[in-house]
């Protein structure tokens, strides 16, 4: 399994390299530059700025310079936030995004899996209908509708939670619900479908035939097998959290990575966007690897070669 992990990690390097190259080309292909504004800079001033950020060199030289910097984990200075480096920005935004993302994922799993299981075990019953209607709503209501609605109810009309910003745990409650609800609903539906299927499978029938208690059948024999599709959903879920967090961070004024991604792209902050893209790339590759390793642990039929 160690060999498999190492091979996968080695395989990630070309992926990230291609990702970085694409990001570089696409950013440079976009019209407009980091120093364009509704006020024209004097030519000498512009020339000085371009020299400072090496934009006066040929694209190949810039690309080479950037790769060399990245190889040493230096993402360079930000164009937009002149006083800080991209490394500093990622270091300040990532813990916030990670907390928000992890809490949303935990929220989705802790609520979604039991909900789905309960629905599956009482298929076509009241519990099933309630759970699945709730899940359908959770998937259908986009987070940019849910978030302002929650702010109105819980922060403006009632003074129960803060409307935005960053502070104690209270500041995370609404963002986590807004970001995690759709995922929770999806997990619940997945868990239900997969549980229903597993409950009908041969190994569960065998377990029942052996006279095991219902609880033991469900928790020990059915659940791990039923979790496999949910685990494979975690890869895309992580990507969903990353893209979804942009909206949530803006609405709640949370200083995470997502805002840098968007404002960086809009301001043609080349280094910031590429830094964040690469960072996200590493995260997603890492998450997918983790998911693949989890498979083996949950399902003895999976072998790593």
């Amino acid at each position: 399994m160690l060999g498999y992990t190492l091979r996968r990690l080695a395989g990630a390097v070309p992926t990230l390299f291609i990702l970085l190259t694409l990001a570089f080309v696409m950013m440079r292909a976009a019209p407009g530059g980091p120093f364009d504004g509704d006020r024209e800079l004097p030519p000498q001033v512009r020339a000085n700025l371009e020299a400072k950020y090496h934009l006066d060199e040929s694209l190949y030289v810039q690309y080479g310079r950037y790769l060399w910097d990245v190889a040493r984990f230096d993402f360079g200075p930000s164009f937009q936030y002149r006083d800080v480096s991209v490394n500093d920005l990622i270091a300040s935004g990532f813990p916030v995004s990670a907390t928000l993302g992890a809490a949303s994922l935990a929220f989705a799993l802790i609520l979604g899996v039991p909900l789905g299981m309960a629905a599956a075990l009482r298929q076509n019953g009241a519990v099933d209908y309630t759970a699945m209607t709730a899940a359908m709503l959770g998937i259908s209501i986009p987070n940019f509708v849910l978030a302002p609605l929650m702010i109105l109810v819980f922060a403006v009309y009632n003074d129960w939670l803060p409307a935005g910003g960053l502070g104690g745990w209270q500041h995370y409650v609404m963002p986590v619900i807004a970001l995690g609800t759709a995922m929770m609903a999806y997990v619940a539906r997945l868990a239900r479908a997969s549980m229903i299927e597993v409950m009908r499978s041969n190994h569960v029938r065998t377990a029942r035939a052996k006279g095991l208690s219902a609880a033991r059948v469900v928790w020990v024999h059915a659940l791990p097998a039923a979790l496999t599709p949910i685990v494979s959903f975690l890869g895309p879920a992580a990507a969903g959290i990353i893209t979804g967090s942009v909206v949530i961070e803006t609405i709640f004024g949370i200083p995470g990575l997502g805002q840098f991604f968007v404002s960086g792209a809009l301001n043609r902050d080349y280094t910031l966007v590429m830094g964040v893209v690469l960072f996200y790339g590493i995260l997603i590759v890492g998450f997918n690897l983790l998911v693949d390793l989890l498979y083996g642990w949950l399902d003895p039929r999976v072998a790593y070669r």
């Binding site: 407009g32 006020r39 004097p42 020339a47 002149r82 609605l149 109105l152 960053l166």
Partner: protein
Amino acid sequence: MRAVPLFCWLVVTSLLLAACGGGGEDERSSFPVEISPEVRDDGTTVFRRGNGAEPGTLDPHQARGVPAANILRDLYEGLVSISPTGEVEPGNAADWTISDDKLTYIFELRADARWSNGEPVTAQDYVYGLRRAVDPATASPYAQLHTPIEHAAAIIDGDRPPDSLGVRAVDDHRLEITLAEPTPYFLGTLAHPSSFPVYAPAVEAHGDAFTQPGNAVTNGAYTMDAWRVNSRISLVRNDAYWDDADTAIDRVEYYPIVDANSELSRYQAGELDWASMIPPSRLDAAREHIPDQLQIEPTLGVYYYGLNVRRAPFKDAPELRQALSMAIDREVIVDKITRGGEIPAYGWIPPAVDGYEGARFEWADLPADEREARARALYREAGYSEDEPLQVEIRYNSNEANKKIASVIQAMWRSVLGAEVELRNEEWKVFLDAVRSGRDTEAYRLAWIGDYDDPNTFFELMNSDFGLNGTGYASDAYDRLQEKQAHMPDGAERDEVMHAAEARLLADSPVIPIYFYTSKYLVKPYVTGFEGNPLDIYYSKDLAIEP
């Protein structure tokens, strides 16, 4: 079993109803605003200010944009300041004299002006600051603001060394500034952040990071306490400030919030004392429920449509350009779309500009049908008709308000003139690139916000030599008038030249002014000292929190 989904719907609809304010039986609950000033246990008053986008830098000579300028005016002080009502008043300089030829200004610095580390603010600090502002190596976006100063233009172009700038320390407390030509608006430019001094030892010791908490040394009413990007910038009172005794608020917290709805929620929830934006859809509700908190002031800004005169259809077609301008019912746009008290523009210079009565289109007061008939006549004169309608594109940067205005103008041009109008929106930087190159733009929307309270900041924009000339307008007559008025002393003669310049511009119509901007703030009732001003400049030191 059917009752279960029904139950879910009940939950959701009741949530929605609660959010929408229900039937509106209780007047106050439909626009609740929590009135809760933050006063800490030790008596520290905190002013929480919503501030738009996160500033890119807090280096006075490199910063751009309103959010950074707001913070910089709390941190640093120039030779002059702007009073709460918008007049130039003494800042770090207690007094000044101007020579008879209007070329030499001598500023007397306050003896008790100090940096936040206790060091005195000297004339040398201003020499250092102004040289740094025009030095091309600093790459200041506002370097051109200083071109009235002798040799500044040549220094910006890299033709002269920065130390040749016409700024000299006579002694520690006297500063002499020599101008290239008399400039009536010069004093106003000294209140702009790019004229602020910076503390040379801090810049030399920390480089780009001299703006950071711990490194920053400032001479304004406040100094840096903490800066968390995209979250909050906190300032604390600067005990060394010369007027600290008259400063009321102890801490100022600037919150970067770009979404107007989010800012409003946080204001309503009691997390902000000051909101800098109001979603247009909420303006009427704010007028109805919290009129005492809503502050609307005309400002120095114009929203306009540029017409690219380098290409067809606008090349050599003044009649067509006038016809299009005439066909726009500006009242509809400000009444139905922007709705924030904006002023319909029938001239180029905002009425909020101090001491200048602008020129107006002579058709401005015509009834709608006559105005439209004249527009149609000009349109036909330009060679267009029902069979050969004008085909034109309106380009704008993607934004809800721009889109609505473009759609309305499209409809007006279509119904009044019969023109075939296409709309095209682009992301801001893509849009700017297209406007700058002028290769394929026709009509496009843009805005201009004045840098100081003088008509020149608007006249200058249309000079053929000025930086971003998206229309390609190049009129010798206009350029001469613009350059002439820029160096005349204020008075009837200058007014006459300015009028001539504005009339020339309106007749040529390379731009269609649509409306003049207003600033819109929500300010909690316990924040005192707020007086509206057209410059849209509000120093935290002039405000107080009185719970």
